[in-house]
């Protein structure tokens, strides 16, 4: 259903809702609500606009990781809080390009697009704003237009981080069947699947990895209902643990995990820290994709005047990916020792993790 149709049916409810909501303090803007930013010393020379993808602030995953990078930069005084702005995409992401263009129009020095879907739009816009730095998380704008001089594509070796949680999954469960819940089909999430499968097979070559994808478009990352259904299905089929790379839809996996009383693995940020109390004990680990590090670096470079454009790849060796160990109940030293052993081999180049699920 389109959004206006929903409002069409509920104008009066909307009125009363807004009336009720005006008491609470801008819940949609939580990311910038860190106090004290104005009193600390900060670099007032630069302005940073962050265009978020579908899901927006509060997705406890990808967008929040980018927001964390900006928050850290604010905390470190690289930019003043008043000089930053978050802009969320609408529910279908149709206004990504307009948001980026609007930020560039407003004269922000650095415009960050959070998500690969920004690539095309920024590739088309960047040349019109030569004095603006553009950074795209997971981007590929420089492949769309190789003449760009002001765009950085921040990419990650997700397969390496996923390999580590795959090792952790197989090592923890000592079982024959595990699961993978992907968001949108395609090569990007394929890297997560490939690494996870390869990691699990490094421990148990005969392990069976069940794979489910939520959908074919970006709304697959905001469909927690389907995420829960597919997760329950995999648990029912014998998966002892499931790893998700599905953004906000991953909330469905955690609910299914509680229902099945079986563990799950989070993605992008340390989801153990943000999960509900009943879900927390079941989250073995999370694949960390240091979107925050990448965003932080882009802000720092902009402030220092040495913004690096082109493709920038953050791997295990650059601490661009990793895994979390917050859940000490499940993630015992025995397991993390094994995982760390594999991590060393990857950094040393002894193991090359595949990007394509067909090769895993």
């Amino acid at each position: 259903m389109p959004k206006w149709l929903r409002m069409f049916a509920l104008p009066i409810v909307a009125l009363s809702l807004v009336a009720a909501a005006c008491g609470s303090d801008e819940p949609a803007d939580g990311g910038t609500a860190t106090d004290g930013g104005t009193t600390a010393e900060c670099n007032a020379d630069i302005t940073v606009g962050v265009a978020l993808d579908v899901g927006g602030l509060g997705d406890k995953s990808f967008n929040d990781a980018a927001a964390a990078g900006l928050d850290q930069a604010i905390a470190d005084g690289l930019v003043c809080e008043d000089n930053t702005k978050f802009v969320e995409a609408d529910n279908t992401g149709s206004n990504r390009d307009e948001n980026v263009q609007a930020l560039a129009d407003e004269g922000f020095n650095l415009v960050v697009g959070v998500g690969f879907a920004f690539s095309e739009g920024i590739a088309g816009i960047a040349a019109d704003y030569p004095d603006t730095n553009f950074a795209i998380v997971d981007g590929f704008a420089n492949a769309v237009d190789d003449t760009l001089t002001n765009v950085a594509d921040l990419t990650f070796k997700e397969q390496e981080g996923s390999f580590l949680v795959g090792v952790a999954a197989a090592q923890y469960c000592q079982c024959d069947t595990i699961g993978f819940l992907g968001g949108q089909t395609g090569p990007l999430i394929g890297k997560f699947e490939a690494g996870y499968t390869a990691g699990a097979k490094a421990i148990n070559p005969d392990i069976n990895v069940l794979v489910e994808y939520i959908g074919d478009d970006t709304t697959a990352f905001v469909n927690d209902v389907k995420g829960e259904a597919l997760s329950t299905k995999m648990y029912d089929q014998g998966a002892e643990i499931i790893y998700h790379a599905a953004g906000l839809s991953g909330a469905g996996l955690f609910r299914a995990a509680v229902e099945a009383d079986k563990p799950a693995i989070g993605v992008d940020s340390d989801q153990y820290l943000t999960a509900a109390p009943e879900e927390q004990p079941l989250i073995l680990t999370s694949m960390l994709k240091r979107v925050d590090t990448a965003v932080y670096n882009a802000i720092k470079q902009t402030g220092d005047g040495n913004f690096v454009t082109g493709f920038q790849v953050f791997g295990l060796a650059d601490e661009g990916v990793g895994y979390s160990q917050s859940n000490t109940e499940l993630m015992t030293a025995d397991i993390s020792d094994v995982v760390d052993g594999y991590a060393e081999q990857i950094v040393a180049g002894d193991i090359v993790v595949p990007e394509d699920p067909a090769e895993a």
Binding site: L15, L103, D105
Partner: protein, 399 residues
């Protein structure tokens, strides 16, 4: 639409020509609706603790501050013009085509196929070929519910909604199969997509003519949309099919008695609607992206229903409604950058606008009809007609 002018000799009573009054009533109704919506919106903004002038000002500033801004508004409006026209064409004959969304997706698939496989066509012929295939795709997919409706009586709302789901899967299948990139080595693999189209398949950017930056994405599709609106207007005002459609829409029984083949009219309108729907995706395909991508902009077919409502299914009204919708959509960015009002306010405002326009139009229409009745009653009263006295008495009670 407004009640047909009286056939009685009333010209000496009225100074205004008979066609002007309904038009004036419509314009006044629209203005009133706009005013009411803005007032309701202002109440919400005030409840949120912001200044309505600031918020509306931010929206207007983002739409009109320079040529590029307005060009962006127009490029948002372009697909909505096609979408709303597609909805309106069917609606005139009482058909509710919810399947515009699906027809637009299928149109994108056929257009992509044409752009990739008809590349032997020289110069602008390729672009024209792509547009034709987009329309053919939309028509083919619209033919299914049309035939089902006429042959089996299956209601078009049910069939088109279900066909929308099929269209989404069809597009996904096409992108994963026959249309999947072949040359996309390296970084392009991050996103499932078709190969890039040849440059002569794309729509020329006309923004530069008006001093806009190329990122405004204003293309030849906008004038094409205006031409489409003019053609739809012509169809309903000047062509036999349009007359028949209106007859079927207002009273199928008498239309049939008058010798109109209802089924034939419905199928023809569905095909025209499908052709228009096929063009919805061209803005993103041939201007924004230059390829069919996995993250295509969806829902445009549904938004068209709202825009058609706003424009009261009138082609000229639709053009303005689409531009208006574009201003509001761009306002989502404006609100987030320049105010503390959440972007969802725009969605609320869009809903309020549609509601108010529909309600105010209905009220205005009844008011105009009653005025007409009252006037006729008065004249007949002089003549001493018994029926007329009744009508006069009724309208006095109502007033």
């Amino acid at each position: 639409m407004a009640a047909s002018p009286a056939t009685m000799p009333t010209a000496h009573v009225r100074e205004r020509p008979s066609w002007l009054e309904p038009l004036l009533v419509q314009a006044a109704a629209l203005l009133l609706a706009l005013l009411i919506s803005l007032l309701i919106g202002a109440v919400i903004i005030i409840l949120y603790g912001e200044d309505p002038i600031d918020v509306y000002g931010a929206i207007l500033e983002f739409a009109f501050r320079d040529a590029t801004s307005f060009g962006t508004v127009l490029s948002i409006a372009t697909p909505l013009i096609f979408s709303a026209l597609a909805v309106a064409v069917c609606f005139k004959a009482g058909l509710f085509n919810i399947g515009v969304e699906g027809q637009f997706l299928v149109g994108m698939v056929t257009a992509t196929w044409a752009a990739l496989h008809l590349d032997f066509l020289p110069g602008p012929l390729l672009a024209i070929g792509v547009l034709v295939f987009a329309m053919l795709g939309g028509m083919a997919f619209a033919a299914i519910p049309a035939v089902l409706k006429v042959k089996t009586g299956a209601h078009e709302v049910v069939t088109t909604i279900m066909l929308n789901g099929i269209a989404i899967s069809f597009l996904a299948w096409a992108l994963n199969g026959p249309l999947k990139y072949t040359a996309g080595e390296g970084a392009f693999n991050v996103d499932l997509r078709s190969d890039k189209f040849a440059d002569n398949a794309l729509m020329p950017n006309i923004g530069a003519l008006f001093g806009m930056k190329s990122s405004a994405d204003l293309s030849l599709l906008l004038p094409l949309g205006l031409v489409a609106a003019a053609l739809v207007w012509f169809l309903f005002k000047r062509m036999r099919l349009g007359y028949e459609a209106r007859a079927v829409g207002s009273s199928p029984g008498s239309a049939q008695a008058g010798g109109i083949s209802i089924g034939a009219v419905q199928i023809k309108l569905f095909l025209i609607s499908g052709a228009l729907a096929g063009l919805i995706g061209m803005q993103q395909l041939l201007v924004d992206k230059g390829a069919l991508v996995q993250n295509y902009e969806a829902q445009l077919g549904f938004i068209g229903i709202g825009v058609a409502f706003l424009g009261q299914n009138n082609p000229i009204g639709i053009v303005f409604a689409a531009i208006f919708w574009g201003i509001l959509s761009r306002g989502e960015s404006a609100l987030q950058i320049n105010t503390d009002v959440p972007r969802e306010f725009v969605i609320i405002l869009q809903g309020i606008f549609i509601m108010t326009v529909v309600i105010v139009y209905q009220v205005a229409k009844r008011w105009a009809a009653r005025r007409q009745l009252a006037r006729e009653g008065m004249i007949e009263n002089i003549d001493g007609s018994a029926a007329a006295v009744d009508i006069d008495g009724l309208s006095k009670e109502d007033a």
